[in-house]
Symmetry: C2
Subunit: 344 residues, 2 copies
Amino acid sequence: MTKPPATEPRRTLTLRDVSEASGVSEMTVSRVLRNRGDVSDTTREKVLIAARSLGYVPNKIAGALASQRVNLVGVIIPSMSNMVFPEVMMGISETLEDTGLQPVVGITNYSPEREEAVLYEMLSWRPSGVIIAGLEHTPASRAMLESAGIPIVEIMDIDGEPVDSAVGISHLRAGLQMAEAIVAAGYRRIGFLGTKMPEDHRARKRLEGFREGLRRAGLELADEEYYAGGSALMKGREMTEAILRRTPDLDFLYYSNDMIGAGGLLWCLDNGVDVPNRLGLAGFNGVELLDGLPRKLATMDACRREIGIHAAEIIAGKRPSGVVGGERIELFPTLQPGDTIRKV
Amino acid sequence: MTKPPATEPRRTLTLRDVSEASGVSEMTVSRVLRNRGDVSDTTREKVLIAARSLGYVPNKIAGALASQRVNLVGVIIPSMSNMVFPEVMMGISETLEDTGLQPVVGITNYSPEREEAVLYEMLSWRPSGVIIAGLEHTPASRAMLESAGIPIVEIMDIDGEPVDSAVGISHLRAGLQMAEAIVAAGYRRIGFLGTKMPEDHRARKRLEGFREGLRRAGLELADEEYYAGGSALMKGREMTEAILRRTPDLDFLYYSNDMIGAGGLLWCLDNGVDVPNRLGLAGFNGVELLDGLPRKLATMDACRREIGIHAAEIIAGKRPSGVVGGERIELFPTLQPGDTIRKV
DNA sequence: GGAGGTCTTGATAGCGCTAACAGTAGCAGA
DNA sequence: TCTGCTACTGTTAGCGCTATCAAGACCTCC
């Protein structure tokens, strides 16, 4: 039988091809490629040369099915566009790096239905664990998480009942603290600017906590302004102008995130508003970006990187002491007064 | 033998469980769950009820192995932290949404070795296609891409030889055009500010094209300044101050990206530099963020969303006319002069 | 000398699903 | 009545890999 010409229609390679090319069993090839079990140096060498020269890429689908192990960790977050989640991701990837585990991201756009769909899709790949933002999920999502039989870490928030483990900060408390700081600095006519996002539970909780803080001082919000979509910086300018036109005697503006806060700050500087004496400003998140602004906006960092690190550690089983699951790690954000709150 | 009490240690469910619970064969369950093939309404109903009440989640690993089809598309990009790639991702996800295909992202941090590793990992899941940033890869990466036997789309750049398809803009030309516009506006003492990133080939090509543009006008760069790491906005300020201190007679600064450009702009405004008369500024990318700045930075949009859309269309086989592969789509960025280049 | 290692390799049996084909029933048309 | 179809359901045989066990070769130590 004559060999067909060099370029035969290429099937995708399997272990068998490498096994034939190197003259050992498939099992041995598998062992070499996974660095598992004893294989003599000469055999190992032969196999590696054969695999490389063929350009063999293992099929993890088959491998995962056979071994019942998948090196994937599902990460489900609402968005990637504001700076907050990328930073969480950094913490996660960095921590997972030397564990052989690999994050796979799903985006929900703050939609519970979408979250449910993304979760279903993820679980159908049988990941080793799931990291998911928030504690609020549809009943179906919660049921899936509960019966998945893998570690689940709910991140960002700890005001609620986690399915399994949770790592985050208390947004209720964050809002409360900010209110206290503002009141302590002597501001009294306080406005709030935020997003129209009923499903952003963390922003909602911050506002709730903020209101509570004001109430304890016998105050309440003097005005509110909400937006949806568009460039946050620009929206911050527009909203600031709008709220001040409507309620000119406001002496403080609390923004639900740093980006609109920064927009507000720029508007004030452009329009000669005396910050922080005539008007104080504060945001939330501690976005690094703001470091370059002419003045530093008061904010509260959300411990984003740390949250990612801790969550990944739980999934990777790296937590100290033999804790098995159901961990609850609360982190504590610190207030950064910047230049936009009066010093007391 | 007595049945163990209700709460027995839960194995993960398989088709067989649903099949037993609903009294039909596994095959029929499979058909119902995938909506494929004819199944009577009554059977369908029975199966769906059983599946739902058990909380069955299909195992895509087994499904993919059996069907030799994987609904995943690998997307390999250098970074997620500057605003450029998230926007490409939006275009991709949006386009893939109704195709049953699902993007899976890998990040390389501009490291060719990392890219190689990420690519290997991705290919081992046998995705339906790969979208990868840039045309420059290690020989091993290129070999993998060539022999993967799936559609490959290299994005962002088209100055080079693609493995299969390519969608992007010419960064060489982008740099050249910007140089021409600057020269035409009468600027002569031109500085460049960029990142220390030998592996950011697109930034390199823009600079190359920019130099060529200056040379054609008998000019050359009067000074250069590079940075690495840190908050881009902040770095933009610092670098601007540094380059102007060193070469005070510069009349134009070309930044390799909008963020440092924005930092530069803020510095100029803070320090009373007359922009654009005494000093002109320009960046690159067309980042939406900049909309909120006091003055609009000259820039060039990089067609990021469109790139994502076209790339996804190629993978999904949505391209018009029966083109099979090896498509090359060039997009053309437009110059947005903003307020930081003198009107001619 | 033989029991009991260690090291290395291979054979076998699935993992949970789906492609492909093989029925079976029911019904229209000749 | 039989053929030929459509609608539905089940059986069989893998997909490409790994867990597990078995076995051969070669030692070591009483």
